[in-house]
């Protein structure tokens, strides 16, 4: 599709220079660097902006909780960004509020200050806009859900040590890893408790990032809505940076789509309310348990299924012979070993089941919700119309909503407005969503539409770290296979660096091979590499057929 659009606009000198020395020359395309620090996103884009200048965009700066040498690595990345950019990041983009996308602003705060790294402007999704009514409503509900989850975590911790509960706890920890260390949820929850902790959470990191663009010389923050077409604030308007269009695809301005998390799961009913995920009576019970207000236990009576007259407190029941014999202890047959009998009896009890199942659903809901409010950007190169697609961690609802958008900024020359299908067909660089998990890359209305011959995928996943956090299929094997098929094996993973000059996949003449590099001044484990790949703004004439 992009083939015949190789327009004759003035791309002048840049195109010629690159033909002879593709690696050295940075003048005719966008250089994308993916830092290989661990499970987390950190991308630096550099675009020619006039003769001696580059326009630098940083998309996310984070690493998953509990990664080895996390603080040192993030500091190293900040130092490298300082070297690569010369001290100023022209544009910072934060896709969404998860620790593995923003942790660096907290962890490497010192390094940012020490190096005096400047950030000029910040792009955030409209959902972060405090003056947007819909965003406020969503955030309010999200806040309630977070509070309920934090209480559920507390309640789970209170409720014994059975193997079933251990599995739930490990799962919740895995999801909570997206919210950083400490009290799991940053200020929202901590304000209630004692603010004694020294580790910062996700919300702290977000605030620190926002503060960076409030300084003198910075130009603040813009909130982007789907359907908008943005320009970079480049110094030279007719440079590549000045000509690039950034099309905003998500998050959708539709509360329903945001809540559509997964095309298959059955646990998310069609009601928009949080209570459709977990009933309010569940939330109240959790609240009661977590805050452990014994005096209040039987006051809020509507959540209770029966009148007080019918209720016998659990503690009291443990003394009654009926519940002792049939529930708590059982009656051990003489011949049976006590440990074996004890295991059999406790397996049949249901103490934490109600809590575990609700907490799981709530945690999944919150997690997917945050992923779905990811800012999705398509960077369009002016001559070749190639697209660089950065999806954050967008899930199904977000992906589907792109297809409702129509971009008619080109309607003059092109009668039909652009659709998501067009944009996907022109995509030559795809940042794989959510570290390659299954519902963050749509198949039919996503990957299968990425038909460009030069498609390259960049996947920020660290399999070992994902395993340490006990994430099941991250990345999903069948997705890796599908991407490999679509992109002629040009899948660049940050956890599988290659030797020498042979990156994975077929790199035909005309495409510039990616390379591994580093500007680190450190030694040992904390020194982070990056994978550098350059997208040129002209059609290379490759035919895969």
């Amino acid at each position: 599709m992009a083939k015949n659009r190789n327009s004759k606009r003035k791309t002048n000198t840049r195109a010629d220079a690159s033909e002879t020395a593709p690696v050295k020359s940075r003048t005719d395309g966008v250089v994308v660097r993916m830092f290989c620090h661990g499970l987390g996103d950190c991308f630096l884009l550099s675009i020619p902006d006039g003769d001696n200048r580059q326009f630098h965009i940083l998309i996310d700066l984070g690493i998953a909780k509990g990664s080895p040498d996390e603080d040192a690595k993030m500091a190293d990345i900040v130092e490298q960004i300082h070297v690569l950019t010369g001290g100023t990041v022209d544009l910072l983009v934060i896709t969404h509020e998860h620790w593995d996308h923003v942790s660096g602003f907290a962890q490497a705060h010192g390094a940012i200050e020490k190096n005096k790294l400047k950030f000029k402007h910040l792009w955030l999704a409209w959902t972060e806009n405090p003056r947007d009514k819909l965003a406020r409503e969503l955030r309010q509900q999200y806040g309630k859900a977070k509070l309920a989850l934090a209480q559920a975590v507390a309640a789970v911790k209170l409720s014994g040590n059975s193997t079933a509960m251990a599995a739930v706890r490990s799962g919740m920890d895995g999801i909570l890893a997206f919210y950083g260390p400490g009290d799991e949820f940053g200020p929202a929850v901590r304000s209630g408790a004692k603010a004694t902790k020294t580790r910062l959470g996700t919300e702290d990191a977000m605030n620190l990032a926002k503060d960076l663009v409030k300084r003198p010389g910075a130009t603040g923050c813009t909130f982007l809505k789907p359907g908008e077409v943005c320009r970079l604030a480049a110094a030279t308007p007719d440079s590549l940076a000045g000509q690039i269009k950034v099309r905003v695809l998500g998050p959708p301005r539709d509360a329903k789509a945001i809540r559509k998390l997964d095309s298959k799961t059955t646990t998310y009913p069609k009601q928009e309310h949080l209570h459709a995920v977990v009933p309010w009576s569940w939330t109240m019970a959790v609240n009661r348990m977590a805050t452990d207000q014994i005096s209040n236990r039987f006051e809020s009576d509507l959540e209770m299924p029966f009148d007080p007259a019918h209720r016998i407190p659990l503690k009291q029941a443990a003394e009654s012979s009926f519940f002792k014999d049939y529930y708590f202890d059982g009656v051990k047959p003489r011949r049976m070993n006590a440990a074996v009998y004890g295991a059999a009896v406790s397996q049949r009890r249901i103490d934490g089941d109600w809590l575990a199942r609700g907490a799981e659903q709530l945690a999944l809901w919150i997690n997917s919700y945050t992923n779905n409010v990811s800012l999705v950007l398509a960077f369009e190169l002016p001559s070749s119309k190639k697209i660089l697609l950065f999806v954050g961690d967008a899930q199904v609802g977000n992906w589907l909503s792109w297809h409702d958008l129509k971009f008619d900024d080109e309607a003059g020359e092109n009668a039909k407005p652009l659709t998501a299908t067009d944009l996907l067909a022109r995509t030559v660089l795809y940042k794989v969503g959510h570290h390659g998990s299954h519902n963050a890359t749509l198949r039919q209305k996503g990957l299968e539409l990425m038909t460009h011959d030069e498609l390259v995928a960049m996947l920020p996943v660290d399999y070992e770290q994902a395993q340490r956090l006990r994430y099941g299929e991250m990345p999903l094997k069948s997705l890796i296979k599908a991407i490999n098929e679509t992109a002629c094996k040009r899948l660049l993973r940050l956890d599988t660096p290659w030797d020498g000059n042979t990156p994975p996949g077929d790199w035909p003449e005309g495409m510039i091979k990616p390379r591994i590099d580093s500007k680190s001044k450190r030694n040992g484990k904390a020194a982070v590499n990056f994978i550098e790949y350059q997208v040129v703004d002209r059609y290379s004439g490759i035919k895969s057929e």
């Binding site: 009913p269 977990v278 209770m304 059999a344 049949r348 994430y471």
Partner: protein, 684 residues
């Protein structure tokens, strides 16, 4: 005159009293929602007669069930009901009420017990629960243990969510309660509490899951896309057909539908209140029709032969299967009542306007109940005729036809034709038959001529075990006791005999199974010429070929089954299942290496490594106990490459699709299975 005090004579205890056979208990016929509808108010509750359990304790805790009302979310328990309380005995238990936890306990007990009774009546034997498997940590070592499950546990208020399920690890039914969230306020009171343990359909459905798990424990292992769907569909069927066992409800619905059951009635719907309170406009499931999204009007669902091939989600496939069986039911009902309509209308068969004559209604209800009972019995009996592993709907259709044939060799009422026709119109076919005729659908008996040298030693081995008088393991006595259900220990001459309890029967089954296992092993390992020998790979099983670890097998589900003899009386067959497994790998190369090893006869093969999935094979044997002829051997071969590939493909396509799995690990089978949810996603 002076009245002298007479010495008191105690006259109250002299007359012998016979214990009642039934305990009458009041329950909601469907769920509490009908009790606030004027039209249905008088059929909103029914009184069911459940078997009189002499030793019923508070709970209720009986021979089969224990209702334990713990509600951890509310940090409390509810006192157990004593159904032997005279006040309750005199008035058929508590009055149906949502606000009384004792009624909740009474209702789950009553409905679960009636479901159990349907199974016992159809199968002619006691319902047993599957063994409890658990892990014990002793001295930091973990070991797998199992123990027989005496009673199924019921927790009426276990969860605060709109769900209920059978948990196969806990051997328990967990019911939830939740505030209603209707799509429209006139469907249910928003925020009003809905109890899943007060829904007749949900209780029957979940109890059926537990009973089916007791009969066929491997049907909870999703080895192909039909296995879990079958569990769901079967449970739905039992719950649906149970509606037809309440005469008052049935007559009322038939009168309302003017005899035409293919219209919208309560009979074909499942869990109405639950559906409406969870944001649907209709019942959770409907076997006959559906509600049009646009017009909100009910319409009869039309068979779509292509739908079954396309549907991959378990609930979808299950719903199509239920619809097919129900279509068969309706066809038989129409067929059987045509004469009644003709008689009532002077031969025209065209009903005049207005209500039906009450006599006609009663006769129609009678027919409807009879057909339902027959189909319910057949559906349940067919479970015995299923292969022990890797069930498909096609297999079940063949089992259904075979079970029906065994009871009624002459298909006088054309039941089998109606069933095959319905399955065909819904596009549900077995994969391994040449034609869709009744003869080819019926499981075939093994050909004596070709397998004679195989069969004879195998059958005589079984005969030997059942008629053995070796006292070390109980011998033939255990088998006699299992067959008759009474204790014969130490009874030389005539003495009154005690009935064996379910746990005692269980121990006898275990003893015979163990002995049979030993004998089959011996026969297979014996070199020819030294007595009875059988093939090392008999009936698609590996009993002696290759490495010792590969030949492990389990004798499961051994019991006598009875069927009416065509010449009157009852004939007895032996049902015997043998199951085994071998490692499966997602990686084709690893699988090839493993297959090569498995198929080699060389005994010094390497040890098994940990595998990606368990591949199971197994055979159901049905043997005539009079003549010791093998009537059916229903096989799922352990050597089948086709099934192995199918299972691998199925499992690989599922990997990573569940977001829950990404963070919380593998979902236990039971949980995923019994979710009442699921339909909802499909409606979306």
């Amino acid at each position: 005159m002076v009245i002298k005090p007479q010495p008191d004579v105690d006259v109250t205890t002299t007359a012998p009293t016979e214990m009642p056979t039934k305990r009458r208990l009041r329950v909601f016929a469907f769920d509490p929602s009908l009790s606030t509808e004027l039209e249905n108010y008088d059929v909103s509750e029914v009184t069911v007669g459940v078997r009189w359990e002499t030793d019923l304790k508070p709970g209720p805790v009986g021979e089969y069930l224990e209702v334990i009302d713990v509600d951890p979310a509310s940090d409390c328990v509810y006192a157990p009901i004593d159904l032997n309380n005279p006040a309750l005995l005199a008035k058929d238990g508590h009055v149906p009420s949502e606000g009384n936890p004792h009624f909740h306990q009474q209702m789950v007990y009553a409905v679960a017990m009636s479901t159990i009774q349907h199974f016992e009546r159809s199968l002619g034997r006691k319902v047993m629960w599957s063994d409890q498997r658990f892990t014990v940590t002793e001295n930091k070592k973990q070991s797998e243990k199992w123990a027989p499950t005496e009673r199924l546990r019921i927790y009426p208020h276990a969860l605060r969510e709109n769900n209920a399920y059978y948990d196969s690890e806990k051997k328990a039914l967990l019911f939830g309660y939740f505030p209603a969230q209707p799509a429209e306020v006139d469907l249910a009171m928003p925020g009003g509490l809905v109890f899943t343990c007060l829904s007749h359909d949900i209780i029957a459905h979940e109890t059926t899951h537990a009973i089916l798990d007791g009969i066929q424990p491997h049907f909870l292992e999703p080895s192909n896309r039909d296995v879990l769907a079958f569990h769901e569909a079967f449970s739905d069927l039992v719950a649906l057909f149970q509606h037809f066992t309440y005469p008052e409800v049935l007559s009322r619905q038939i009168a309302r539908a003017r005899g035409n059951l293919s219209t919208e009635t309560l009979l074909g719907q499942l869990a109405m209140q639950f559906g409406k309170a969870s944001g649907e406009r209709c019942a959770l499931r409907d076997a006959i029709g559906e509600v049009d999204e646009a017009t909100n009007a009910w319409r009869r669902r039309k068979p779509d032969p292509a739908a079954f091939q396309k549907a991959s989600e378990p609930h979808d496939r299950g719903a199509l299967f239920v619809a097919a069986v129900f279509d068969a039911y309706l066809a038989i009902y129409r067929h059987r009542t045509r004469d009644l309509f003709r008689i009532a209308t002077g031969g025209t068969g065209v009903l005049p306007d207005g209500d039906l004559h009450p006599d006609l209604v009663r006769r129609l209800a009678n027919e409807a109940a009879k057909v339902a009972e027959h189909l319910l019995t057949m559906s349940i009996r067919a479970v015995d005729y299923c292969p022990p592993v890797d069930i498909t709907f096609g297999d079940y259709l063949r089992a259904l036809i075979t079970a029906d044939f065994d009871v009624m060799p002459e298909d006088e009422r054309n039941y089998r034709v109606a069933i095959v026709e319905a399955f065909r119109s819904w596009g549900i076919y077995p994969e391994d038959v040449r034609t869709l005729s009744i003869e080819s659908l019926r499981w075939n008996s093994p050909d004596d001529a070709t397998q004679n040298d195989q069969l004879k030693p195998f059958l005589s081995g079984i005969y030997g075990v059942l008629n053995d008088h070796d006292a070390r393991w109980g011998g033939g006595q255990a088998w006699e006791e299992l067959r008759s259900g009474v204790d014969t220990t130490g009874k030389a001459g005539f003495e009154p005999r005690r009935k064996l309890t379910r746990m005692e029967l269980n121990r006898r089954t275990d003893a015979i199974s163990a002995r049979l296992h030993e004998v089959i092993r011996e026969m297979a390992n014996r070199s020819s010429g030294n007595g009875r020998t059988i093939s090392k790979t008999i009936f698609g099983l590996n009993v002696a070929s290759g490495h010792e670890a590969d030949t492990n097998f389990r004798v499961a589900n051994l019991c006598p089954i009875r069927r009416p003899h065509p010449d009157g009386g009852v004939k007895e067959d032996l049902l015997l299942q043998i199951v085994q497994r071998r490692p499966g790998y997602f990686d084709q190369e690893m699988q090839k290496t493993e297959d090569k090893r498995f198929n080699s006869v060389d005994a010094s093969a390497p040890e098994l490594r940990s595998c990606d999935f368990k591949f199971r094979g197994g055979t159901t044997f049905i043997i005539d106990l009079e003549t010791y002829q093998l009537r059916y051997a229903i096989q799922k071969s352990i050597f089948s490459q086709h099934r192995m590939n199918r299972q691998r493909e199925y499992l690989m396509a599922l990997i990573g699709l569940d977001e829950r799995e990404l963070y919380f690990g593998k979902t236990p089978d039971s949980m995923r299975l019994a979710h009442l949810h699921g339909r909802k996603a499909i409606h979306e």
